[in-house]
Every structure is written in structure tokens, then in C-alpha cells.
Amino acid sequence: MSETIDDAEVASSDGSDESVTVEYVAQKKHSLALRWMHWINFPVLMVMMYSGMRIYWSDLREPYALGIGSWQIFEFWPDQVKSGLQLERKLAKGIAFHLNFGWFFVINGLAYMFFLSRKGEWRHIVPDLQAVKDSRRTVAHDLHLTKNKPVQGKYNPAQQVVYSIVIVMAALLVLSGFAIYKPGQLSWLEAAFGGYNYARFVHFSMTILLMLFFLVHVLQVVRAGWANFASMVTGYRLDRSDSAEVAPASAFGPNDLDAENRTGANTDGDTDSGSGSGARSGSSDDEMVRATVDEGSAS
């Protein structure tokens, strides 16, 4: 391990073109628990959406189309889709699957809530105000409207915003589901949604929005490439040892801006610190001294 990092150090410090022996290292990104919870969602939501559609189309006379009242934007979906997917006249099986598999989603969601709170993982997800502002720039960047990318931690600002919304959506999905499922015993919950039909509307809308999220999510995963996808399976992300993905935090920050010209010893010191925490704290002290020009920046 230290061997690899030494190589990287040599490459970056001499800065010339001929030294290109690119080394790769992998850094842990996603814990085992997170990966389980992530992948359980996939088949469970597939089953829930499929069985949900069977329930939805049991009412053949008046499909609940997207729209309000009699004003409909469009019906979901053409008849061929319904018969092709065996969605018609499968209400009993739809209910049986839906009310059994729903519990897996609920339990998985509760486990995730516990995970978020216990390990402080919510800090990665929940955006601060700046991240909310920056999320627009992520979108612009990904649409190739600008080359300028906002700074980020584990997730980029747009991911933070969208993932947070998705968590809320999933909670609404479950709660509206319970309101529809037990409007007698949980009549307060039904009332909280403004009634049965609104609970159904919320349940249905959240499903559609989750499907849209799923499409964008898959598209973005394809765009982000194999290393990113693999990290959700293996837990580790493989990257060039000199890339931002594996660099310690101390490699970022104000000093690097002027270090750019100097090819300073500071950068090398930071790369080194990847192998030991002692070295890292030492170098950040060093940085703090230099960073005093910028008021309040040292923390």
C-alpha cells in the first residue's frame, strides 16, 4: 500500500511527462450495511411497483390518470402495455404481493433511518444551504452547459438534494400506503393526508416520481462509469492514486491554490498522509498557519 503511494509521490513531485506509471488504489466508500440496503430496495421496489400496477388496473372502467378530477393529462399506459405485462384482472395476486413485500421496504427503510442517524451518515446526504445553491451548478455541469463543477464531499450537491428528497418521498410513500391500507385503525393517518383519495394520489404520485428518479439515477450511474458502479457492489472505489477521489481532505483547501505554482513540498506531504493519520494532522497544522490570510478559514 505505502509502495503505491510512494510511486504516486514521485510522479507528482517531478511533474514531467515521462514519469507516467499511473498507480491505482481503492478507497472504501460504501459500508456493507449501506450496500445491502441499497440493493434490497431494487428488487423490492420492482415487486412493489409491479404488484401496485396490478392493483391500480383492477378498476378497469376508470383508470386513475394523471390529472385532477376529470381533467387528465394522460392515462398510464396504452392497453398493449397493460395486457402485455399481465396487469389486468390480477388484483388478488397484486394485493397479496403488495401487502407482503411492502414490509421489506418498511423494514429496510427503518434500518436505513437508523443507519443515517447512528453513524452520522446523514451529514453526507443532507445538503447545507450552500449545497442547495450549488446543486444548480452540478446540473448545468452534467448537461455540459458549463465546465465548472461545484465542490463536494462524498456526494455532489445535486445528489445531496435529490437523495434527501427521495428519502422524504419514500417516507411519504410508506405513510400514504399505510393510510390506504388501514384507514380504520389508522384513520388519523388517513385524515393527515386529507382523506383516502388524497392518500391514494400521494401514493401514486410518489411512485411515478420514484420511477423518474430511478431513470435519472441509472442514467447518471452509466455516465459516472464502472468504478462508481462497482463501488456500490464492492464498497471500494478504484481510482488513480493521484486523483481527488482518494486524496485526503488536507490535499484540498486554500494552500493548494498557491501550491500549484510552487509544486510545493506541502502537496507531497499531503499525499503521504494517506497512509498515516499522524502525518496528516501535522500537515494540516502547517496549512492553518498559512491560511490565516483568509479570515476564519482554519477549521
Binding site: T4, V25, A92, I95, N148, T234, A249, S275
Partner: protein
């Protein structure tokens, strides 16, 4: 330069954000290869197992028209909900002015001609002990209730029922021995039948109704008397009650035999 910062402030922010990602263990590419192979193999194996398992479940031997395991799960669902406190739970009620037309969805058991001297046959475990006429029931205290009638298909209508509380009906015409667990309700021709549990039968909002939205029940709505309760889907609210039988074992149910949850309740 490393990172995406454009100025000092962003750079500082970036360093702070990156601090939270620092604790991830760093391993060599060779070690990654080993672990990655293992992870992908398990991932693939679990995926295949899940796919095979799901197919097995779909094709599993059926219990009343749905896979046995799913049937088992539906029963466990009811264990959960009946264990949770539900005394005092009541469905939302509405103002009479909110009432709507109700859809007619099924005519099972309503096709045959009703005799003029029609009376409900009251039975305990198959033995008739009394016959109760519609007029007998109408002599009980009438109640007006407005709630949302929900169909298992997903639609719902707010309707106004008038009838006697089922609990009042049982107090007057129920069996002497109050040790029953379930009631089987059937149309006179026994074409359509439902089973309800004690909780539902005795619930305050469960009616033996004779009028809908202020008018005497029409045939398609279950004349002369029907079950109306906001704690069950419409499929359990028997129209044209002909037989009321008290049992200790769970009676069968028309839609239960066709793949639906026996409880089908809220």
C-alpha cells in the same frame, strides 16, 4: 491542483467537505481486485438466488388461489393489526351533504326472486333457532351514518347509511350462548357469502342497513337488508342478508376462495 475549487472560499469548503470522506480505508489495486471478485461473485449469486426464489414463489402451490407463502403472510399481517390496539378506532365520518352516488359492482346472490314472507334465518353452527323479518329489524333503533365506502379495486364513495347497529341486532336476536367467534353471512340463495369476525360485528359503526342515501335499499344495493361497515372493503359487506350463522371456526368467504385476503379490513 486537486479538486474543483475556483477560489479560496470554495477551496476551504471543499477541504471541510472532504474531511468527512477521509476515513475510508485505502487498499492497493491488487487487494481491490481480490475483494472486488469476491463481492461481485456474492452479488451475482444473491441476484440469481433472488430471481430463482421469486419465480418459485410465483409458481408455488396455491392456497385459495394465491401462493401459500403469500397467504401465510396475509394471515400474519392480520395478527399484527389485531395485536395493535384497535379498541376505540373508528372510521372517519362525514356530513350528510357530502354523500355521493355509489357504484354498483356485483349482483352475485341478488338474481333470484325474493319470497314475500322473507325472513333472515338465524343459525348456530348450522341449526336455525329463529327467523327475523325485515320489519323486526326496522323496529330497532335506526342510526344514520355517513362514511366512505371503499372498494378493493381502489375507488371510494362517501355514502349515507340508515340501519340498526349490528350490535343492537345481535343483542335482540343473537344466540343465547354468546360464545361465538365468527359470523357467516350469506345471501338467501347462498350464492354469495362472507365471514366476519367478532370485532367487526360488534363495532359501533357496523350496521344492518335498510336505506342508502335516504332511500330504501334497491335490489342492486342489497334490499331488504345489507351489512354496512367502514372497517371492511365492499366485498365483505354482504348485500341481501339471508342467513346469519354464528360459528366458532372461521367461515369461508366468496372472495377469499378467489385469492383475496380473508380479513380485507381496515
Amino acid at each position: 491542483m486537486i479538486g474543483d475549487a475556483n477560489n479560496q472560499q470554495e477551496a476551504e469548503r471543499e477541504r471541510r467537505l472532504r474531511e468527512s470522506t477521509d476515513d475510508g480505508e485505502i487498499i492497493s489495486a491488487a487487494e481491490y481486485k481480490r475483494r472486488s471478485r469476491r463481492s461481485f461473485l456474492s452479488f451475482g449469486a444473491l441476484g440469481v438466488a433472488g430471481y430463482v426464489g421469486f419465480n418459485k414463489l410465483q409458481n408455488q402451490e396455491e392456497n385459495e388461489r394465491i401462493p401459500r407463502l403469500l397467504r401465510w403472510g396475509l394471515e400474519r399481517n392480520d395478527d399484527v393489526w389485531s395485536t395493535l390496539e384497535r379498541d376505540g378506532a373508528s372510521a372517519r365520518t362525514f356530513d350528510i351533504s357530502d354523500r355521493e352516488e355509489i357504484r354498483v359492482n356485483g349482483m352475485f346472490g341478488l338474481e333470484s326472486e325474493l319470497p314475500t314472507d322473507f325472513a333472515i334465518s338465524m343459525r348456530v353452527e348450522g341449526e336455525e333457532y329463529a327467523a327475523v323479518t325485515p320489519d323486526d329489524v326496522r323496529s330497532l333503533e335506526g342510526r344514520d351514518m355517513v362514511w366512505e365506502h371503499k372498494c378493493v379495486e381502489g375507488w371510494a364513495n362517501i355514502v349515507h347509511w340508515t340501519g340498526a347497529r349490528f350490535a343492537d341486532f345481535l343483542a335482540e336476536y343473537g344466540p343465547e350462548k354468546d360464545d361465538w367467534e365468527y359470523i357467516s353471512l350469506r345471501t338467501p340463495d347462498e350464492e354469495y357469502y362472507v365471514g366476519i369476525d367478532r370485532y367487526t360485528a360488534l363495532h359501533d359503526q357496523t350496521l344492518l342497513a335498510w336505506a342508502l342515501n335516504g332511500e330504501d335499499l334497491r335490489v342492486e344495493h342489497g334490499a331488504p337488508l345489507r351489512l354496512a361497515t367502514p372497517f371492511k372493503y365492499g366485498i365483505k359487506q354482504l348485500k341481501r342478508v339471508g342467513i346469519v350463522e354464528f360459528t366458532s371456526t372461521r367461515p369461508t368467504d366468496y372472495w377469499y376462495e378467489r385469492g383475496y385476503d380473508w380479513h380485507a379490513g381496515f
